[in-house]
Amino acid sequence: MYTFTNKLRNLSIILMVIGFLGLTYGFLTAPNTVEQANAMVADGHGDGHGGDHGAGTHDNHPVGDKADAHADDKHHNETAAHEDHHQGGHGEAHDKDAHGEDHHGEHLLHQLQNKPWAALYVAAFFFMMIALGTLAFYAVNRAAQAGWSPALFRVMEGITAYLLPGALIVFVILALSGMHFNHLFIWMDPEVVAHDKLIQGKVGFLNVPGFLIRALIYIGGWATYRYFSRKFSLAQDQADDISNHKKNFRISAGFLVFFIVTESMMSWDWIMSIDPHWFSTLFGWYVFASMFVSGITTIALITIYLKSKGYLEKVNDSHIHDLGKFMFGISIFWTYLWFSQFMLIWYSNIPEEVTYFITRIEDYNIPFFGMLIMNFIFPLLILMNSDYKRVNYIIVMTGIVVILGHYVDVFNMIMPSAVGDQWFIGIAEVGGFLFFLGLFIFVVFKEISKAPLHAVGDPFMGESERFHY
């Protein structure tokens, strides 16, 4: 039985406090007026434009952006109009806009006001996604009747404990967006929709009540499966027959069907709709691969931590080796989907699709291609060696890179549409990450301490104990 040590509890609380302060700082420093926003950007340009921002973003805007600017949405054409703004002038024929005179300043204000919200949302979604990916991996192992993994089931159940609180936090952020506390989802703004024929055509799907009801259905379904699976898993420890195991097998198979549908729709709702002019058919799979590999990596990291503390005596290096293989394989699967999405759009170069990547390559060059190194090249070269996959510190090191890499992945999915070229990994972003990291550690280890780490009743436990690769 694991006990949640005070040291770890304090660490998680410290992380939450630091993260909370960081987020608060982000919210407090967000500009309230157009003048403030203009002043902030002017300052930023004063002290060296170099940095991560990529110099010259404002001067030579991509062709795609300009093409997009002629679409009816004001929030898109402003990116292209930025250059005018810096020359103190106005863009082309924006005067009709209801927001008043300084249209570009208005846009800038929205972007800067979105920054702390987006930092909060990216981190909240990312840690929810880890728990959800772990839940999917857990269900796959249950449904496939895997013989190696029962020794890790309690670790996985501990991680998925974060799913319900984590998903509810995401839901609250989405609900706040729906109540116009922020401007993350432009389709939630009736004024935007009024001027945007493309979004008008999607109102049947993209409307706030439907959006929130769908979110509740997803979260409800996932949490229900998680609740019952954990219940049966604990009940199996005391049982004389394997009826609980069988029930778990059935609901896991059912959950996987539900999961793949809701996960796909969740990715359209929660991520793709941030950019309501853009669509991609394999997006759901892409998000799935990202959450799956992050989940598996988290399982490996927590398993190694618990093992090093002397719990989990039944887990041997073959289990770690298997987790390493999954990290390796799913990292490549993620890259395959990333590339399939990128290459198909790059190759055909249709303006309405390609703006998505043009903004990312122009404004997010380092995170966009940097995550490929973190999520593909690094694990590919390190985890290819069979012996390395048995070495704890190599799995931990690779795992940390992969986890951070997938944070950057979510960052790249959300930030460009929320804050555009005003992005920075600053206090608010790091604060958001640390806050949810602390919360995650707190919830997960609290749950792990609630039940014995060794699921004695599982019919495959013997096989898992003797597992050797």
Binding site: F339, M343, W346, Y347, N349, S386
Partner: protein
């Protein structure tokens, strides 16, 4: 000479074979060869065979294939005749790289797989019309055979093999190898 005399012990069960191999090695007899109809898990470890390095070779072959793909397409598409084909940017390799990735991937896999297989054939001396080296046809069906070099210790060795559960023990005068 005693050195071209070998003893062949036949077994009918892979578990018995494994424990026999272990006790034969404990007695410091040199096992020449073991013939089995199917892979026996743990036999290589029991025999103390060195690990294969074929995966390292496969990695190197893959790198070669990757390099071949890049050099080939860079020469053809960028250097030799950089045409404008459907607006694809052919000014430098990196600009047009996404279009080359499928070929880079396939050639990497192609080189890694085929050269590894050929390496395997060469190292295991397998080719068409090669004379089979099977000492006893039963070992392709359901029997296992251990071949041990003899050094004037026939009696002792036969007793040991009998103890390990061999169903048949034969002394063979080996023909001189065709060397």
């Amino acid at each position: 000479m005693s050195s071209n005399q070998v003893i062949q012990a036949l077994y009918d069960d892979d578990d018995v074979l494994l424990s026999a191999v272990k006790s034969i090695r404990e007695e410091k007899h040199h096992i020449e060869e073991v013939y089995t109809p199917f892979p026996v898990h743990g036999l290589d470890k029991a025999l103390g065979l060195a690990e294969t390095r074929i995966s390292i070779m496969a990695f190197i072959y893959g790198c070669i294939g990757f390099a071949v793909a890049i050099l080939m397409m860079n020469y053809i598409m960028i250097e030799d005749w950089p045409q404008n084909i459907g607006g694809k940017p052919s000014f430098s390799y990196i600009e047009n790289m996404p279009a080359f990735v499928p070929i880079m991937f396939e050639l990497t896999v192609f080189f890694a797989a085929h050269l590894m297989v050929i390496t395997f054939y060469l190292r295991s001396k397998l080719w068409p019309f090669k004379a089979a080296e099977n000492p006893n046809p039963l070992t392709t069906d359901d029997k296992f055979l251990v071949e041990i070099e003899l050094h004037n210790n026939e009696k002792e060795l036969k007793a040991l093999l009998k103890k390990t559960g061999a169903i048949d023990i034969t002394l063979i005068e080996k023909q001189d190898d065709h060397e």
